[in-house]
Amino acid sequence: MSDARAEALKDQSMVIQKEMIAEHYERLARAPETGEPVVYTFVPGNLTELIRSFGCLPVLPEINALQSGMRGKSRDYITEAEKHGHSEDVCTYVKCDIGMAMAGNIGPTGTKLPKPDLLLLSYTGCYTFMKWFELLREQYDCPCVFLHVPYQGDGRIEPEHREYMVRQLREQVIPALERISGRRYDEEALRERLRLSVQAEDDLVWVLQSARNRPSPIDAYFGAVYYVGPIFSAFRGTPEGVAYYQALRREVQSRLDAGLGPVAPAGPMNEQKYRLVVEGPPNWTHFREFWQMFADEGAVVVASTYSKVGGTYDFGFRHDPDDPLGTLGDYCAGCYTNHNLPGRIDMLCQYLRDYDADGFLINSVKSCNSFSAGQLMILREVEKRTGLPGGFIESDLVDPRYFSAANIKNRLESYLQMVEARRGGGAREARAS
């Protein structure tokens, strides 16, 4: 496996990103000496621009967990957490993170992670996040501030939702950041960061929408999890982030010009037999193997909902430097996990139409209730509305024990053959002849 990983082909943008991540983890490792305050927070509804405007460094526990999963470290961490009484049914992101902390808090790149000065819990629909930070608060004995993001129960963000979030930002979040950083809230600095965010957001949306082309120059699921990495984590509103998205856009543009497909682990994917939309997070422990199963069948993903967990920019949202706190509220409430089921169904239907897809596939992960609850209903409803075939596979985020390659391959192949058969109406001929 390690050999295969070493040999996996990489885009230039992936190399840049890897360096950015390594640098960020090194900076985190030095934080105890440099005195840069550290804020732990979650991807959906992250307030990166605000955090960084106070000179603080963000740590995203889910990113640590998925990085540990990709680097083959999650199994041991999960075992460690289970030894300490966390049940088999607990979200494996949580167990991976807790296990990592118990094993010395060495981050995925091998450097030590600093303790948090603040736990900033932005709640966007995942109840587990609350329990997760309760555990971390216990472990680190540090302040925890809660930003309650109202759920889009009616499918839209109401003015009072926005006011409620801005009030929490002013009364809870900003004072907490002021306390740990010793700095005053600087709205101009925040605006400047939001301006940088917009540049990166424009480029990201351009990249994601390039999948409307045939062949698609990107894989909007397996490739897109890399593309959204910087903007969903520590790099939104930073010059490095802007530079990354410019480079990425150039890279995708050059593939588009050459009529090339994305680079899958075992090589370029120029022959694209199936265009799929995918719902749900990927599996991280067998990420490349999982991706290659799609690539081997000529299946390219043209749109995915998971790449919207940290923001639904392709539906028009951009951070607004003229309304810095209001826009942060809109951003948090607009994350995919904060959408209701009808909203998720609408989004999938729109993707299937806009990206001219052959069908959609749900990867249902055992760990994640926020994602998985309602997925079968989503499947039926999207099938009904679009007439396009839906498929269902099951795995987990970072627990390798829940990845059964044979089972997943079987379902994926069956699904794609079903798409093919329905496209050709082949059996009718078989009967008639």
């Binding site: 039926r380 044979a406 079987n410 069956s414 053959q417 079903m418 078989a430 009967r431 002849s433």
Partner: protein, 426 residues
Amino acid sequence: MSITCFVGTDLGSTTTKSIVLDAQGDILGRGITNSRSNYDRAAQVSRSEAFINARFNLLRREVTVAAGEAVLERLLRAFRLEQTLAQLERLHELTLGAAAFDVPAPLGRAAREAIDAIIAGIRAEELARFDEADPPRRSDFFRDAAGSAWSRLATGLAEPDGVTYDMLLGLYDKCIIQVENEPLALGFGDHIGAALLRIGDPADVHTGVQHAVETELLVAGEVGTGYGRQRLPFPKEMIRSEILCHGLGASTMFPGTRTVLDIGGQDTKAIQVDADGIVTSFQMNDRCAAGCGRYLGYIADEMNLGLHELGPLAQQSTRAVKINSTCTVFAGAELRERLSLGERREDILAGLHRAIMLRAMSLLARSGGVDDEFTFTGGVANNPAAVAALRELVGENYGGRTLNISPDSIFTGALGAAIFGRRSAN
């Protein structure tokens, strides 16, 4: 003369099945063997069995007209006997060879004598069975028939201080795999001559046999499916998912089919098909094989019963025990726990069958429910208690549905594959 045909092979986790179709799409032959963790060989054997069956079907009409049904039946049994004797001969050679290595020298002669006696015993039993008018049903696989006879005869021959039972059984275990996995000549042409002689070489069947031997079976299309399909020596485009094959196969057997439930050795599939047998939606169990055929296999082992005895015993239940777990690994534990609580075996079994079907119902619901008509396939469809539990649960949840079960349901996937083979050739 020659006949154009199409082959479908379904490599299941437990058994491997093949179907041969003629140019019109009618079934010419069926073959089945155990999958024995050697998929390549299992595919060869089931395919060869299907061709033998096809040739018997070719001569069926002529022989029946010329000599009557009984003669044909007798010829078929004689052919099976010849195959068994050939395998027995090979088992004999291999066990003698193994004994030379494995048995301590002082016991060598006694071991050889015991082996000779066992083989002679089995041979005599097979010959006697052939002479019986209506011998009791038994497994079609050489391993099962030879294994039970070997074990029984070895018990009588073993001596505490000499050649022990374990020693003899060890030799059998070591060699049977090789017998199964060697490409023995077991085809139609290899044994039909001897089979004819064994039934007295009746002149009135000669023409029919001659035709069957001389007819060339030209394979114009072939598709493989099933759990082990990646192991088939076929190009990728000749391999189909068993979900598609089951859908098409079930819909060919029962054209009104809209929902298919297949419970195989290690997976359960709920499939929805359209009027053309094309799959529109499906769900299958995740990597956990709870409630699949293998689960019943473990239960049967645990109760020291044959798989086919479970259903009838469960049907004697008067009060089914409520069972929640269908975990295959813990099947034995669940069973022993219930027994220790004083529950009756038939009531526990009835509960187990219902539990399996509750799990299947959940998959069916996930796939889109149970539409009319509903076709149940796979090995578990042969179990009357499983069928009764399914019928009851479907009635409770979906109302009246036509439930189709074919006596050949085990061949559903292979049939679908053969049809796909025929389609790709056309």
